[in-house]
């Protein structure tokens, strides 16, 4: 028994080694390794362009108050006070005050056609009951003008009697993490596992095509059980994925030293419920099982495809499956302990994502051990089924049993 196990292990590693070296020691691998740079580069260019367009629009936007000069100063002071409350990206457009003409209503309408600014909202009329014109999507700017109006009027009426409050701000570090922090950690965990598998597991789908096209599959099948071939190929490409993750993990770890302290503090607040070290181990374990689970399904399905065109056709349903599992797991992470979360944790293809989210939400460790065993059991099952389908459908072994097989055989004969 142990001799057979040892032989199978040796065969698996032989296949894995071949696939790993055949993938890594090629110029194309460099392109694959640096794909995130290319992706990030395009993202940065697109983001910078969009930000520039949005920024220029924001710079020209204004809230306009058509008020007498005497009141304009109170508006400006109130605007300065209120503006300090908002973050830059949440602040309302800058304030412009205009001296009223004989027809303030017409003047307000004309302000929307001004050449040197884009009016988001325009206030005119008596201070106690102003009229505010606004663009349909700029209700917050209109409300801001109303608030400004109230503040300015109060300042004007109370003058020096207006109460002044001087608050003292003291830094306070919370002892535990909040529910919001845990939710965020869970989301990042789910997203992290999803992102990595989306990026890496899909390449497994076409891996048997090489053997089929080169007729090497006959040599492999004569020497090694097909299950070992499948597992070996899966592990070989998982090795490539680990290399990819290790490379970018190292790069990001170095880059993190350049991150501003405020961002570092924000990231530090994302403390998962099981603790940082356990979470890191579980994250890698769930990345492994997610890769193996999805990879074994993709490998089994892809092995049935005989042409590159068929393999390419499979990429859409594969992406849909992955995104579906991500959506299910994200929903589960938002509702820990719910029936939906339990379903996502048990359903084999979403289990690694959902359990990674659970590691951020809940402190118990034992469910993770059970989940990992459960997921690896499904990996074995998927590999077994994939090899069986390959043996029957491609190598034409075993009795033609199922209706599907007969249909496929007839279809193949017809073509």
């Amino acid at each position: 028994m142990s001799a057979r196990l040892s032989r199978t292990l040796r065969q698996v590693l032989t296949i894995a080694r071949r696939d790993f070296t055949a993938t890594v020691f090629t110029p194309v691998f460099l392109l694959f390794l640096f794909a995130p740079v290319i992706m990030g580069g395009f993202g940065a260019i697109g983001g910078a362009g969009a930000s520039s367009v949005a920024g220029s629009g924001r710079d020209r936007a204004r809230v306009v108050a058509i008020v007498p000069d005497a009141l304009a100063r109170s508006y400006a002071e109130a605007d300065a006070r209120l503006r300090a409350v908002f973050r830059d990206d949440a602040a309302r457009p800058a304030l412009t005050t205009l001296h009223p003409t004989a027809d303030p209503a017409a003047q307000a309408r004309a302000a929307f056609s001004a050449r040197d600014y884009d009016a988001a909202a325009v206030l005119y009329g008596p201070a106690e009951a102003p009229v505010i014109l606004r663009a349909p999507q700029d209700a917050p700017s209109a409300r801001y003008l109303a608030l400004l109006s109230r503040e300015a009027l109060a300042d004007r009426r109370l003058g020096a009697q207006a109460p002044r409050v001087i608050a003292r701000e003291v830094d306070f570090v919370r002892a535990g993490n909040t529910a919001g922090d845990r939710d965020q950690s869970a989301f990042f965990a789910v997203f992290g596992v999803f992102f990595l598998t989306l990026f890496l597991a899909g390449q497994v789908v076409g891996t048997m095509a090489e053997e089929r096209n080169n007729k090497v599959v006959e040599v492999l099948a004569a020497a090694v059980p097909l299950e070992a071939v499948f597992l070996g190929k899966l592990l070989g490409l998982f090795g490539v994925a680990v290399m990819f993750v290790a490379f970018w993990g190292t790069v990001l770890a170095q880059l993190s030293q350049l991150v501003p302290p405020s961002v570092s503090a924000g990231l530090a607040s994302l403390t998962p419920a099981v603790g940082g070290d356990a979470f890191a181990i579980l994250f890698f374990a769930y990345f492994t099982t997610a890769y193996l689970l999805l990879g074994s399904v993709f490998l089994g399905v892809g092995a049935q495809a005989s042409t590159m065109r068929e393999i390419q056709m499979l990429s859409l349903p594969i992406t849909v499956i992955q995104v579906g599992m991500f959506a299910l797991s994200t929903a589960a992470a938002r509702a820990p302990g719910s029936p939906l979360a339990r379903f996502a944790e048990l359903f084999p293809l979403s289990s690694p994502f959902a359990m990674a989210g659970r590691a951020a939400n809940r402190p118990e460790i034992w469910p993770h051990l059970a989940a990992l065993a459960w997921q690896l059991g499904w990996v074995a099952l998927f590999i077994g089924v994939g090899a069986r389908l390959f043996r029957r459908g491609v190598l034409q072994s075993g009795s033609p049993g199922g209706r599907w097989f007969r249909w496929r055989t007839k279809a193949a004969a017809g073509t």
Partner: protein, 342 residues
């Protein structure tokens, strides 16, 4: 433990509604060169694939050495499939080492042996050349070396000579003999009789998915009677003096007559001829080649059709619980009248 490297009993394989292999029995003695002969589509490759465990039979049993399943003996087997297959991006040396590693040979040892074998085959210069840059014949040779690099006890070659030029065919024949001399058992399929005639210690002929013959090359040739070629000295009418099947050759062959060697020998015929005063200008007894025997056996099988009765052979006569292990020949169809016993 018996003296057989490969045993098959009643192997059946169906593809759809067609029985591609229909109850094939094989018994390959250890250390022998054993040929599986048959026309295209006879079921040779399917039989070999079942023996190796690449595909599972729908019926029957097979055993390599004493392993319950072929995969249990895979480290002792080398295999060259009909459709050659190598990774194009691999170097020749690595490809051989990889095939050895699949069969349990350590990589380092495999690389060392690969270099030596390539040099021995005159391909030492190509050790670090990628497969895609080799000619088809060279790549085929590399794959062949890969199938023996781990020094298997059983070497299975499916149509090994196809695609090779005469020089490489001779190299391959030498390699097969060398492997046999090393102690390996060779099982190969072919439909080229010349190779089988030169190499095989024993052979089986498969046609229509069934084994039609099993025995030595001489046994196969013995399924046809020897032919007598007789040239009379005079011009008289010889037909009444010769056996009923005697036919006169066309012009240009010295008025020769040909007939099957009678079961009681040629002497009674010669006595009649001499008594009639016809004389003997020429006489020879010609034994048929494997080619003729093959054509005849396969032709008989095709005439009988695939639905004919199962061929007599070890599987039909042995006890149900034992694998065929005799070395006696068996012929699927009864030999033609007048044929001598094998």
């Amino acid at each position: 433990m018996n003296g057989l490297a490969v045993e098959a009993r009643g192997l059946v394989k169906r593809f759809g509604d067609r029985r591609v292999v229909d109850g094939v029995d094989l018994a390959v003695p250890r250390g022998a060169i054993y040929g599986v002969l048959g026309p295209n589509g006879a079921g040779k490759t399917t039989t070999l694939r079942m023996l190796l465990g690449i595909i599972e039979p729908d019926g029957g049993a097979r055993r390599l050495f004493d392993a319950a399943h072929p995969s249990d003996a895979s480290d002792r087997v080398g295999y060259l499939p009909e459709e050659r297959g190598l990774y194009p991006a691999m170097k020749a040396r690595e490809a051989i080492a990889f095939m050895g590693a699949l069969r349990g040979l350590p990589w380092r040892e495999g690389r060392a042996r690969a270099v030596a074998m390539l040099e021995g085959a005159g391909l030492g210069h190509a050790a670090d050349t990628k497969i895609r840059k080799l000619s088809k014949g060279m790549a085929q040779l590399v794959q062949l070396l890969g199938s023996v690099v781990h020094r298997p006890d059983l070497l299975v070659l499916d149509e090994p000579f196809s695609g090779l030029d005469p020089v490489n065919q001779e190299k391959l024949e030498a390699l097969i003999v060398a492997e046999r001399d090393r102690g390996a058992t060779i099982l190969f399929s072919t439909h080229v009789m010349a190779h089988a005639e030169r190499l095989c210690d024993r052979l089986a002929i498969i046609a229509g998915g069934r084994r039609r013959f099993e025995g030595t090359v001489d046994d196969a040739r013995g399924t046809l009677p020897a032919r007598v070629r007789y040239v009379p000295r005079g011009d008289g009418d010889m037909a009444p003096l010769l056996p009923p099947d005697a036919v006169r050759d066309g012009p240009g062959d010295g008025d020769a007559w040909r007939f099957a060697l009678p079961s009681d020998g040629v002497e009674p015929v010669l006595a009649r001829v001499m008594a009639a005063g016809a004389g003997i200008a020429g006489l020879s007894i010609e034994r048929p080649g494997l080619h003729e025997a093959f054509v005849r056996i396969v032709g008989d099988a095709e005439t009988a059709g695939a639905d004919g009765p199962p061929p007599p052979g070890p599987s039909a006569t042995d006890d149900a619980g034992s694998m065929p292990s005799d070395a006696a020949s068996s012929v699927a169809r009864a030999p033609a009248a007048g044929a001598p016993a094998a």
